[in-house]
């Protein structure tokens, strides 16, 4: 029963399950359609909440049609809908009608990163004092490990995703954005407020390396390769100022 019911909810070409009846003898298909609509419309609504700028860029009608295709292909695996849409960016890459807007998948990644940041675990951010203490460890400074804050997310894009996102928050003009300009984004949550910051590709490479638990010297090298002008001091200041780090320790302290 449940299997036939569930299949018919997601596939508009499957007839409603057998065994339904209406009090007045009318065709139950019309009544079953209430659930069919609830399922798709409510999940499209959930995606609308997570991806408002993607919707603004393509228009409501296009977005809802695209999201409905995604919902039917990849319905949520969990009732925790905050996490629904992790695969939306990848889906947009394969969705031919959206190929005219090559920046759309990365914009979806940025919007999903905001939601993930919002609901990520709490942790005390690294203070300037703790950082200074850790950095005064002499020659072992290059071996220091950075612990990235659970609410920090980052994204290196070949498209101006931060400018496009910001233009929909009333910052800057959409028409003046150079669409050939790559941009990197840092998403942080100081004081329980999610912020999107523009950063350089060195910073995202630095965070990639830190997330792999590589030492500080290694992280800086990776950052330099991605962006020759990478400035370690400025980057650490930026990350700390926005609560993007939660610890800076020597490996012996961090691994019990």
């Amino acid at each position: 029963m449940n299997a036939a019911f569930a299949r018919a909810l997601l596939d508009p070409h499957t007839p409603p399950p057998a065994g339904l009846r209406a009090w007045n003898g009318s065709d139950p298909a019309r009544r079953f359609a209430v659930h069919r609509n609830n399922v798709v419309a409510s999940l499209v609504d959930a995606l609308t909440e997570t991806f408002p700028v993607v919707q603004a860029l393509v228009g409501e009608e296009f977005f809802r049609a695209m999201a409905a295709v995604f919902v039917r292909l990849q319905p949520p695996a969990s009732p925790l809908l905050h996490g629904y849409g992790a695969g939306f960016a990848g889906f947009i890459e394969t969705f031919a009608p959206a190929h005219g807007l090559p920046y759309l998948p990365d914009l979806a990644r940025l919007e999903f990163a905001r939601v993930a940041s919002c609901h990520a675990a709490d942790a005390v951010p690294l203070s300037a004092q703790s950082a200074a203490g850790a950095l005064s460890c002499g020659e072992r400074v290059g071996a220091l490990r950075l612990v990235v804050h659970p609410a920090a997310r980052w994204l290196a894009s070949r498209h101006p995703v931060v400018s496009l996102w910001a233009a929909h928050q009333g910052e800057g003009e959409l028409q003046q954005i150079d669409l050939s300009q790559p941009e990197s984004a840092l998403v942080v949550r100081p004081a329980h407020h999610v912020l999107v910051l523009r950063c350089d590709a060195g910073t995202t490479a630095f965070l990639d390396a830190a997330a792999q638990q590589r030492g500080l010297a290694d992280c800086a090298r990776a950052a330099m390769q991605a962006h020759a002008g990478f400035d370690l001091t400025a980057t650490l200041s930026l990350l700390m100022a926005h609560g993007a780090l939660s610890a800076l320790t020597l490996p012996s302290e961090s691994t019990p």
């Binding site: 019911f5 209406a22 905050h82």
Partner: protein, 289 residues
């Protein structure tokens, strides 16, 4: 939670929406409680649990689950029960409620409250699920009557009879959604008061009120859709007054989950319910406009 079905104050409450939290914390409206959907707070951290803790400091909380699938054929998800237990331990709600419905199948969450046939087999399964949930969570739960749009040919029990049996066999309480009662009864050509009067009204721990949308079925008959997207209908207010004449004051929630209005609109709808509660011992039509 204590042994009773609910310790919610017999006052009006409102659903807590993230966009209203600042207003609620500033204003501290004269409402008895707030209700949240449990699944929205199943997050690792961040502003949602933090805001709920702050609201919880000065108001009772009703925790309302929408995804446990008490009415489903599949076994209950133990990880989901653990998450609910975690929320109950952290936020100490005065009531926990769930639906006579199912919403997941084969690893997909369908995000709708789906109906079940009312037969001995499904009754035994729902009772087992309610008992398992109550044991796992260490509290009695309130079971909500659903909105339905059609019936199953295989049903052998009436919905009220089914709910009476579940309440009688498991000791759970009843969350009477008066809007669902109205919607379901119009949708099956039945009288809502007859349905409500056949329910175990002494087991009511909470009442829900909400708005519905109007459509028509394939024969042109009214088809009401429980959309929680507008003010409570006059027919539902009338049924609500009649319920309170029978039960006395009961904790009453205004649900408004779609097209959520500005906070004062939701607050005023809840205050209207409070006015009805205040006058339910001496009913006077038209007092609470």
């Amino acid at each position: 939670m204590p042994a009773g079905v609910s310790t919610l104050p017999a006052q009006a409450g409102a659903g807590l929406k993230p966009q209203h939290v600042d207003h609620v914390l500033r204003e501290r409206p004269p409402l008895g409680f707030f209700e949240v959907h449990a699944e929205n707070y199943m997050v690792a951290g961040g502003p949602f649990p933090r805001h709920l803790e702050r609201v919880r400091e000065h108001r009772a909380l009703s925790l309302h689950g929408v995804a446990l699938g008490l009415g489903g054929a599949a076994p209950l998800d133990r990880a989901h029960l653990d998450r609910l237990a975690g929320l109950i331990a952290r936020f100490q709600p005065a009531a926990f409620s769930e639906h006579l419905a199912w919403s997941s199948h084969g690893g997909s969450f369908l995000n709708d409250l789906l109906p079940l046939p009312y037969e001995e087999r499904t009754l035994a399964r729902v009772c087992a699920h309610v008992q398992q949930a109550q044991e796992h969570l260490g509290c009695r739960l309130l079971l909500e009557n659903p909105s339905t749009y059609f019936e199953f040919e295989s049903s052998t029990l009436a919905e009220a009879q089914f709910l009476c049996e579940v309440v009688g066999r498991t000791g759970c309480g009843l969350l009477l959604d008066v809007n669902n009662a109205h919607v379901s009864c119009v949708n099956r050509g039945a009288d809502a008061w007859t349905f409500i009067a056949a329910l175990p009204l002494d087991a009511i721990g909470e009442i829900h009120l909400a708005g519905f949308a109007r459509d028509t079925d394939a024969a042109g008959a009214p088809l009401l859709i429980d959309d929680h997207g507008r003010a409570v209908d006059a027919a539902v207010w009338a049924l609500y007054r009649r319920v309170l004449e029978r039960t006395g004051p009961v904790a009453t929630l205004i649900e408004w989950d779609n097209a959520v209005p500005a906070w004062p609109v939701l607050r005023d709808e809840a205050l209207k319910a409070q006015c009805v509660l205040d006058h339910c011992r001496a009913p006077a039509e038209g007092v609470c406009a």
